[in-house]
């Protein structure tokens, strides 16, 4: 892992842990798309190229413009400026019913007066498909989502998970060039969610359909997507694979938005080629980072350290730097791991994860215990923005 000192988003990131289905690199081109509502800028000159077969997630808090961008892709909103090009064809000015794009809605939007079968056939019928191939395609889709025995049911006779399968089948029936997912798991309970996430990814990857999804749930984005764009105030803050976004956040915003993080504000103290030290008023000794950063001595930076990257011990670690003394103030026990809230001697509170690898391991530490925390020279990220 190297430094992540750039304030601009990384334009085309290398793929992460998931199998890369690299096709044409610019299958979907979003070119400086802007959307304003009565002077309010919902999407602010956003550009991105999306590869063929990629699952791309727009991740952000509500009101960050992710849904508006998705609706621009679907054709329900017309961008104020910018172009959207899909598979070489400019679709910016096409109405939704002429775009080779289908969407799975958050509420599923199954037609209540039509059966499961008729719902799936709806899009095919609009294309004027003959009865028999249409029926074959419907059967195929029902098979794909394992809903064949529910073909004659009405949507209200299905459970939430089954409704979602039907909604997916309906949006895939026309073999769209682009599939849009709007908060795909939003209406499901937590247990069903993790199961459906993987199933959905499997189906999408089997068909090789390019997919843009919108979610506010980071876990969902990280499970499902090849690449994630973190959005804030209508702009992309960072684009990258799930592990890049987590391990190399490029700003305080992304670091804090994805997962939990301890941030130490400070100034660059020594700026050498192969290491830097950061002086933090909240820590007794300067932080030692074993790689160079693009910065200058005296520059204001933040040092981001994930809670699981820290060790906790009762005795003082032998290493010369990157340690601090404090008192356990709070313990959150999650079974598989515990989160210790430790108040350092200079008053700052940090979170530190401890994996309960042995039974009763968590009993080693209790409230008000004086402890030492420490971390490796390469474990944190220096943030300049």
């Amino acid at each position: 892992m190297t430094s992540a000192i750039t304030s601009t988003p990384i334009p085309a990131a290398t793929p992460g842990g998931k199998p890369d289905k690299r096709g044409v690199d610019d299958y979907l081109v979003i070119d400086t798309v802007r959307k304003e509502f009565d002077g309010f800028v919902a999407v602010d000159d956003v550009s991105i190229n999306i590869r063929k077969g990629e699952i791309f997630a727009l991740l952000g808090a509500s009101g960050c413009g992710k849904s508006t961008l998705l609706r621009c892709l679907a054709g329900f909103e017309k961008p104020t400026a910018g172009r959207i090009v899909l598979a070489g064809a400019d679709v910016t000015d096409l109405p939704p019913y002429l775009r080779p794009i289908n969407m799975m809605f958050q509420s599923y939007a199954l037609f209540p007066h039509l059966t499961v079968e008729q719902n799936i056939a709806f899009g095919l019928k609009q294309d004027g498909m003959a009865k028999e191939p249409c029926q074959r395609r419907v059967d195929e889709m029902l098979n794909l989502v394992q809903m064949s025995k529910f073909a004659k049911r009405k949507p209200h006779q299905l459970s939430g998970g089954q409704q979602q399968r039907v909604a997916l089948a309906r949006s895939l029936a026309k073999s769209p060039k682009l599939l849009l997912l709007d908060e795909p798991m939003g209406a499901l309970d937590k247990k069903l969610r993790s199961q459906m996430q993987l199933e959905l990814v499997n189906i999408i990857e089997t068909l090789g359909v390019t997919c843009v999804m919108v979610t506010h749930d980071q876990e969902e984005a990280m499970t499902m997507a090849n690449r994630i764009a973190v959005m804030e105030a209508g702009r992309f803050r960072q684009i990258g694979s799930p592990d890049e976004i987590y391990e190399q956040p490029n700003s305080r915003y992304t670091a804090e938005f994805i997962g939990s993080v301890n941030l130490f504000e400070g100034k660059i103290d020594k700026d050498e080629k192969d290491f830097v030290t950061i002086a933090c008023p909240t820590l007794p000794d300067p932080i030692y980072v074993a790689h160079g950063v693009t910065g200058f001595t005296g520059m204001d930076v933040a040092f981001a350290l994930r809670p699981e990257k820290m060790q906790i011990s009762k005795t003082e670690p032998a290493e010369p730097h990157n340690k601090a003394h404090g008192i356990i103030e709070d313990i959150a026990y999650f079974g598989d791991h515990s989160v210790y809230h430790i108040r350092l001697d200079r008053g700052t509170k940090v979170m530190c994860n401890f994996v309960n690898q042995q039974r009763w391991a968590s009993e080693g530490f209790t409230w008000n215990d004086p402890v030492w925390i420490s971390w490796g020279d390469l474990e944190g990220v220096v943030l300049t923005s």
Partner: protein
Amino acid sequence: MSNATRTSKWSWLFLGFGFFFLYAPMLSLIVYSFNENRLVTVWSGFSTKWYGALMQDDQMLAAAWVSLRIAFYTACASVVLGTMAAMVMTRMRGFRGKTLFSGMITAPLVMPEVITGLSLLLLFVSLSTWTGLDFARGMTTIWVAHVTLCMAFVTVVISSRLAELDRSLEEAAMDLGANRVKVFFLITLPIISPALMSGWLLAFTLSLDDLVLASFVSGPSSTTLPMQVFSSARMGVSPKINALATILIVGVSTIGVIGWYFMERAERRRQAEMQAAAKQ
């Protein structure tokens, strides 16, 4: 416990009083329709002769037929126009004068009928003068008058249903390749059909019992049932009117009960199916 019982006793009392207030006049009307005496208020024995007399009364029957036809045509036209107005009010993004338009659509709801009737009469008369065409007052003019009134009610019923309709249903249909016209006929209309039905019934009953508007714009050959009843009541109430009213009350409540029964049954089945689905 005793407190609760006492409260419930009082509730029953109020309920009884309310029902008495609402239905005692109708009940006495029904009872007296079987009165043998020709004086409405003097009971002298059971008889169905007034129902027979009603069936012989050609004027009354003709008026009833006129009213039913007008009500039918009014209901149909009001539903078509009301749906169109409701679509504009709920689906079109802000255009100039939208608020004014919405206000004017619903104005007939609060406008005194006497004024609506009078202005329509003036309109018909002046139209005949200006255009030279013959806007003879009759069924057509009553129909137009009733549509202006009923359409406002139907618009309110349908637009409230449209407003609560999940917009993503229409978007999904459009996303799947249906243009706006197809979306309306294949998705919107079927889903709001219960609202269309209740709007139709509302317009039908409103038209059927309207007296004021019809009196202004009717012609010599187009006496509606309420007009006929009103004029014959002025000559002295005949027990025939009681018989007619009884038939109307029984007819309306039968339709009401049947409608309620079917809706209730459908809703109960729906609930059961949803519970069954959730258990899977």
